[in-house]
Every structure is written in C-alpha cells, then in structure tokens.
Symmetry: C2
Subunit: 358 residues, 2 copies
C-alpha cells in the first residue's frame, strides 16, 4: 500500500511547480492548455486526490456545509438532507449533519463547538432552529454564512429559501370549496410556528373569496402532532353540525383525523373529506391516500447550497426572488397532490358502506 500521491509527486512527474498543479486542481484560468492537460494526465495516473485538511488549513475553506436540524423524524428533514447532500457532491462539498435540541441549555455552545472545530463554509438551518435567536447569534459570532429554510420571517441578514404557505393553503381550500364543501374545518398547527399562521391565512382568504363565512366552531387548535389531530377531529366530528371537510395544517394531523373518522365509523371521503400538508411518505400509504401539498424540500435544499457556495442554480424552477434588506429570499413552487381522501360533498351523508374493490 503506497502512500497516496501528494501535490509534490504530481508536480515532479509533470515537470511543473506545485503552484501550477494547484491551479489545475482549482480550475483557475491562466494555464496553457497543454500544460493543463499534461498535469491532468499525471494526476489521473497517480490517482491524485487533494487532501481537504491541507487545502482547508492553507486556504481557509473547508469544503464542508453543515446541516442543523431538530426533529429527525420531521417529514421535511429527510428531503432537505437528500437535496443538500446531492448538490454538495456536485459542487465538491460535503455535508456534515448535526442533530440539536431546540431547547437544550447548552445549544449555543454545541453550535459553537461544531463551527469552531470544523469551520464549515456555510450552514443550512431548518425549522425551528432557523428561528432560534441563540443559534443565530452563535453563528453570527463565528461569522459563518447561513441559509434559513422556511424561516418564520424573512430576515434581512440571512438569505432564506421557502415556499408560499399562504397560497398553498388557499389552493387546497379552494379545491375543497370547488368540490361543493361549505362547512370546511381547519386544524391549526403549533402556535409558535409561522407556518401555522400562514396556512390559516390561506384558508381564511379562500373562504372569504367565496363568500363563505368563517365559523369559529370549525377552527380547532392543534400542534402539528398526530395525537392533536385525533383529538381535534373528535371535537369537530361530535358537533351537531359536522363539517363535511377538514383541512389539517399538516399530514401528521391529517392522519390523526383519518384514524378518528374511521373509529367513529365515518367513511372517508364519502362522509368526510380530509386534506393535509407536506406529502409525507405515510400520506400515500394509508387508505384512502391523502390529498395534500408537496413542499419541494429537496429543491429548497439545493437552492440553499447554491446560495452558500455561490453556484448559479440551473433555474427553470420558476423561482421568485424576494429581496428584503440585503439578503436574498427564494420562494419555490409547491405542488398540489390530489388523492382519494377528498371528494364531492354530500349534503346528507349516507351511512351505507360500499366495499371498494381493487
């Protein structure tokens, strides 16, 4: 097992200085085409791979991007990570992940340790960490560039990438209305998350646009978890004037509604239409599969990496760029996924059941 080739070996073999090899490696302009080719051949022959730690120490760049997340089971983390890791590879970077407790007492220190040790070239923050002042401060102190994914508000200091929650919620409510529903309930998300507010806004806007009065009895508070979805559904479905459709602010809660409806002997979508938000894997694996909104998490993550490494994205994704303060804010397109949990409203729902066939 010979030792891996170094830049010196390549330079010697190619008959040039190490500086020239360095220029070829970094694709810098100003190298004779012949020289470049010559060097590249030697690099290939020697199987030369520049060593990150040396590049990092000398050049001040680590070629590392950090991804900070809180709840690993959160639906969007997987998508974000997938998009980020693939884009990093394309750009010659690597993704370092760190699972953090949003309310750990030593959160700032944990962030500082990672940043000071690794000196990543950039950080990607997911909710709720991207809205945590302590985390943001620790990152600012270390002067690490970061991009926020779906932050509560557009921060003038940090670039961000998000989708349009208001619009998406409006679309999904419009869908329900177009199916003839008038009594459409909503289960709101966690109070402290802005996504909850935005989705409620979209719901309210859609009702208003169609002249449907907003009935407070049809608005129930949840917190984005499955159990609150179940509980909220029991509340809603026990009213004398039952809603004919429920828009849950995320899939987790929508699954809870589905379970509650089934336990109460209601047929979905015959007796009740259900819509969610997120398009989690489970949403397509229940019966009936859920109508929901797909957040383009992977595209958002790719855009975040691009913002960090300064690559020009291949666009074409219909991105809207909002500028607030000095930082860039990208808004990516979502997608309405219409499946079988929503159907036309029936005024007097029959309790009859039809055994569906394959």
């Amino acid at each position: 097992m010979p030792k891996p080739a170094t830049i010196i070996d390549v330079a010697r073999e190619a008959g040039v200085s190490i500086k020239t090899v360095s220029r070829v490696v970094n694709r810098e302009a100003g190298v004779h085409a012949e020289t470049r080719e010559q060097v590249e051949q030697v690099m290939a022959r020697l199987n030369y791979r520049p060593k990150q730690s040396a590049r990092s120490l000398a050049g001040g760049r680590s070629f590392l991007i950090g991804l900070l997340y809180y709840d690993p089971s959160a639906a969007f983390v997987g998508g974000v990570q997938q998009g980020a890791t693939l884009r990093c590879r394309e750009a010659g970077y690597h993704l370092v992940v760190e699972s953090l407790h949003n309310d750990a007492p030593d959160l700032p220190m944990q962030v500082d340790r990672m940043v000071s040790a690794l000196r990543p070239d950039g950080m990607i923050l997911t909710p709720p960490l991207c809205d945590n002042p302590q985390v943001l401060k620790a990152l600012r102190d270390s002067q690490t560039p970061c991009v926020l994914i779906s932050p509560a508000a557009d921060d003038p200091e940090h670039p961000s990438v998000r989708m349009d929650d208001v619009h998406a919620a409006e679309e999904i409510t419009n869908l329900l209305i177009s199916l003839g529903h008038q009594r459409i309930a909503i289960i709101k998300g966690a109070k402290d998350q802005v996504a909850s507010k935005r989705r409620y806004q979209g719901y309210a806007a859609a009702l208003k646009a169609h002249g449907i009065p907003l009935d407070k009895d049809l608005v129930v508070q949840g917190d984005f978890t499955f159990p609150t979805g179940v509980e909220a559904a029991y509340q809603l479905l026990s009213r004398r004037q039952r809603p004919t459709a429920v828009f849950a602010s995320n899939d987790e809660m929508a699954l809870g509604v589905l379970v509650a409806a089934q336990r109460l002997g209601l047929e979905v979508p015959g007796d009740l239409s259900i819509a969610g938000f997120d398009d989690t894997p489970a949403a397509a694996r229940v019966w009936p599969p859920l109508t929901t909104v797909r957040q383009p998490m992977d595209d958002m993550a790719r855009a975040a990496v691009d913002l960090l490494v300064g690559t020009r994205a291949s666009d074409g994704g219909g991105q809207v760029v909002v500028t607030s303060g000095s930082a860039q804010h990208k808004v990516l397109k979502h997608e309405l996924i219409v499946r079988d949990s929503t159907a036309a409203s029936v005024d007097k729902p029959t309790r009859a059941r039809k055994a569906a066939s394959a």
Copy 2:
C-alpha cells in the same frame, strides 16, 4: 472581530510550550495538575478551539465519521443517523453523510472521492451498501475502517452490528399462534436481502415448533415495498381458505395489507390480524396501529461509532458479541411492539362492524 485564538496564543498566555497545550487538549497523561489547570483556564478565557484541519493534517486523524446510505426514506436510516450523530458528538467526532445509488455505475469512484478527500477515520455502511462488493472494495483500497450495519453475513474482515432477525420473526409468529391463529400467512421481503430469508426462517421455525404445517399457499413473495404488500394481500385474501393473520416482513408491506383489507371490507383485527417489522413512524399512525418489531437502530449506530473510535460502550444493553474471523460482531436486542392490529382469531369471522368509540 478578532481572529480566533491559536495554540500559540494559548501557549504564550499560559507561559508554556505549544506542546504542553497540545497535551492538555488531547488529555494526554503526564502533565502537572497545576500546569493543566492553568492551561485550561487560558483556553477558556481565550475561547480557544483547536482547528480540525490543522489537527487532521498534522496528526492524520480527521475526527470525521462517514455514513453511507442508499434510500433516504428507508425507515432505518433516520434512526441510524440519529444515533450516530449523537454518539459522534459525545466522542468529539462529526458525521458526514453521503447518499449513494446502490447501482450507480461510478459508485466506487464516488466512494473513493469522498474517502480520499476527507480521509474519515471510519465509515458506517447501511444495507444494501454494506453488502455491495464494489463499495467494500473501494473502502478496503483506501484502508478506511468500516462497520457494517445489518449486513447480509458476518464478514470476517469488517466488524458489524445487527439484531437477530430470525428470533424476532419467531417471536412475532409465536404471538400470532398464541392468539389462536392457525392459518398465518407471510409476505416475504426482497429476494436479494438476507433479512428476508432470516425473517422467513423465524416464521417457519415458529410454525414447526407448534406443529403447524407450513402451507405454501400462505407464502407470498414481496419486495419490502408498499405496493407489493397491497398486491400480496389481494392474493392471500382472495383464497377460498383465507388466512386469519398475515405477518408482513416489514411495516411498509404491512401497511399495504392494511389498505387492501380495508378496501375488501375486512375488519382489522376482527377479520384479519396483521403484524409488521421495523416500527416505522407510520406504523403508529394508522388505524389500527400495527403490531411490529422495533429494531434498535439508534443503539446499533452508537455501537458502530464506538467500534470505530475505540470507545468503550456503556454496555448494559445486553449485547451479544460474536467473533467470526478477526472482526467483532455485535447483536443487539430488539423489542416486540404489540398494538391493535393483532387479536385473537375468530373461526368464522363475522362481517358485522362495530363503530369503535374513543
């Protein structure tokens, strides 16, 4: 923004040589208690953080552990990553993740690029990558230590961590038998994965131990995906002699069985008991929630990190260590999760429905 303190700053302030500071940082023995304390105080005051790239370049250790995975949505990847990232932090390491296509033509090169650039101190491989000869070869060529999570077979060369699939499948089948079921079907997992074979073995062993003949009509091939679960269920449930229970080799397929049963108008668990394997998040979010087996993915990942960084695990987890060849093989305990998708067998299932109450 002053530049971060270096080892030289600390040495100067503390009135010692940088070598002594280095010794304190690395917790090496042979430093006067007073000297150590003195240095530690200065480090704290200057907020000193050793720079990884410098340590790595000089010392030949990167303090990086790589995690290679294929399908990001696979239930176990999340658990593995969570356990690995937490244990890494405790040990002063960081986790670099890489999503790879198991059948990408340039797989070996992708692995080589990562390893040559980062020189991670170790790699954790998850199925099916841990059984991919090309990946293993690339890693061997680079002399990177690696630990396999749930590999197909105990490799004499690489240490591994896994659970006892045979035993777990046997337990879950025993549970079904103890509930009075005699016609218990199994949906097998993907043909090329050893977990499929092992779970089938456990199923067969349990039947045999109870003198129940193995009925070939009750054995259906699946491939661990949701659609094959649905399809297999339709096959099984359309037989004139329907099974009263189905053991799906993973939750994904069990969810498929549940959907199929519901579409056929069967009540679960009244008409049919269903058991899965994995304890995915969705398993607890459907109605009825699935009886399944929890794989201790996070513990397995922690054990893998320990194997790599040479830390002594706090044991107590009832680990069994098997030695084959020169490498260590750990077998961790699983857990049977009994929920509502399984119930006592009823000979003549009634088609009557009772609307369950809260």
